[in-house]
Symmetry: C2
Subunit: 203 residues, 2 copies
Amino acid sequence: MARKTKAEAAATREALLNAAEEVFFEKGVARTSLEQIARHAGLTRGAVYWHFKNKADLFMALVERVRMPFESLVEEVNNADTDISPLEAIRLACHAGLNHLEQPSRQRILSILLHRCEFFSDINPIEMQEKFGEECLDGMLAVFQLAHDQGLLREGLSAELAARLMQSTLGGLFHDWLRTPEAFSIRERGGEMIDTLIYLMQR
Amino acid sequence: MARKTKAEAAATREALLNAAEEVFFEKGVARTSLEQIARHAGLTRGAVYWHFKNKADLFMALVERVRMPFESLVEEVNNADTDISPLEAIRLACHAGLNHLEQPSRQRILSILLHRCEFFSDINPIEMQEKFGEECLDGMLAVFQLAHDQGLLREGLSAELAARLMQSTLGGLFHDWLRTPEAFSIRERGGEMIDTLIYLMQR
DNA sequence: AGGTTTTTACATACAAAACTGTATGGTTGG
DNA sequence: CCAACCATACAGTTTTGTATGTAAAAACCT
C-alpha cells in the first residue's frame, strides 16, 4: 500500500471513527468486529491496528471525540450570569444542555454509551455514566444551594433533594429519548419538563 | 450420563438460570460463553443446549423469571383503593413498587437488562425497556387524569406532564441506583423523592 | 409385579466459523 | 534512505451448533 500524507492518514483515522460510530450504533459494540468497521470504511484491519491499539482503544477514542452533555450542562451552569435568579440559571443551563443533543453524532455516541455497549476488557461504561451523573449533580447542587439560601425554594425542599430530582428527571428523560429518538423532540419535551419542574420547585 | 428424575431435571434448569444470572451480572451478557455458565453451575454445555435453544433463549427465560417492577407498579396503581386521593394512590403505588426491588434476584436481572446487555440475535433489551416504560406511563396517566379532573394538581400542570415527570424521575432513579446499588437505599431515597414530587405537584 | 422398550437428561466429541493479534511486505512521503 | 501507512498473510484461540454415546427413569406390555 502506498504511503499517505499526514493529512490523509488523519482522514483515514477519522473515517475509521465514523465507521465505528455507525456500526456500533447499528449492531452494538460487542457484536461488531474490527473487520466490519474497517470494511465499512473501505479499509482493512491493518489500518485499524495501525491507528488504534485494539477495540477498547478505538472505543475510547470515539467517546472522547465528543463532549458529553452532562459536562456541557455543568459548564453552562457554572458560566451562567450571576445577576439572574439561580433557578433561572439552572433552567437556562438545562435548555442549553439539551441543545447540544441536536447533533446526530453526539446522539449516536451517547446512545452507544448508554444502550449499545457492555463493559469489555478494561472499559467500563457504567463508570463513565456514573461520573457524568455525579458531575451533573455537583454542578447543579451548588446553584440550588444558592437558591435555597435566598429562600427561593418551596418550603420543605432542600437543595440536595431539588438537585437529585432534577438530575433523575433529566437522566430518565435522556434514557427514554435515546431509546426512541424519533418518538419526540428532546428540546420540546425536555424543555417543557424542565420548565415545569423549576416552576413547581419555586416558592 | 445417568438420567435424572423430572424434579432433578427441573432443578438443574434452575441451577443453570441461577448461574447465568450470576455470570451475566459479573461479566455482562456478551462476554460470557455458554460454557462459563455451565461450568459455574457444575455442568456442561450439553445441559445448556438441552434445556435452552441458545443464549438468547436462556436470556429470555432469565428475564421472564421475574416480574418487572414497572409492571407491578402499574398493577399497584390499578388496584389501589378508590376512596383515597388519586395522588395518594400513586404515591403508595410507587412506594410498593420500590419494595419489589429489595429482592437481590430482581435487582440483578434488572441491572443486567439495563446495564449489562446489548441486543443480540433477535433479542432487543431496548424494546423491553421501552415496553415497561410505556406501561408505567399509561398506568399512571389514568390516575393523574383523575387527579387533574378533581382539581388536585397545581395550576398549569397537565396530567400528561405530571405522569411524564414522575416516570422520568423514577426511570432516572432506577438507572442511578442500579449502577451503584450499594451507594444508597432505593427505598429511602426513592421514597423521599416520590413524596417530594407528589407534594410539589399538589395544588 | 416383573421384564422389555422407549425416552429423557445429560456428557463428550467433533467440525466449522469467527475473531484476534502479529508478522510481513510494499510503496512512498519527508 | 528510513520510517510512516496500510494491505495481506498466518497462527492461535474462542465459541458455537450438532452429533453421538449412555445410563437410568418412565412408559408399556403381559
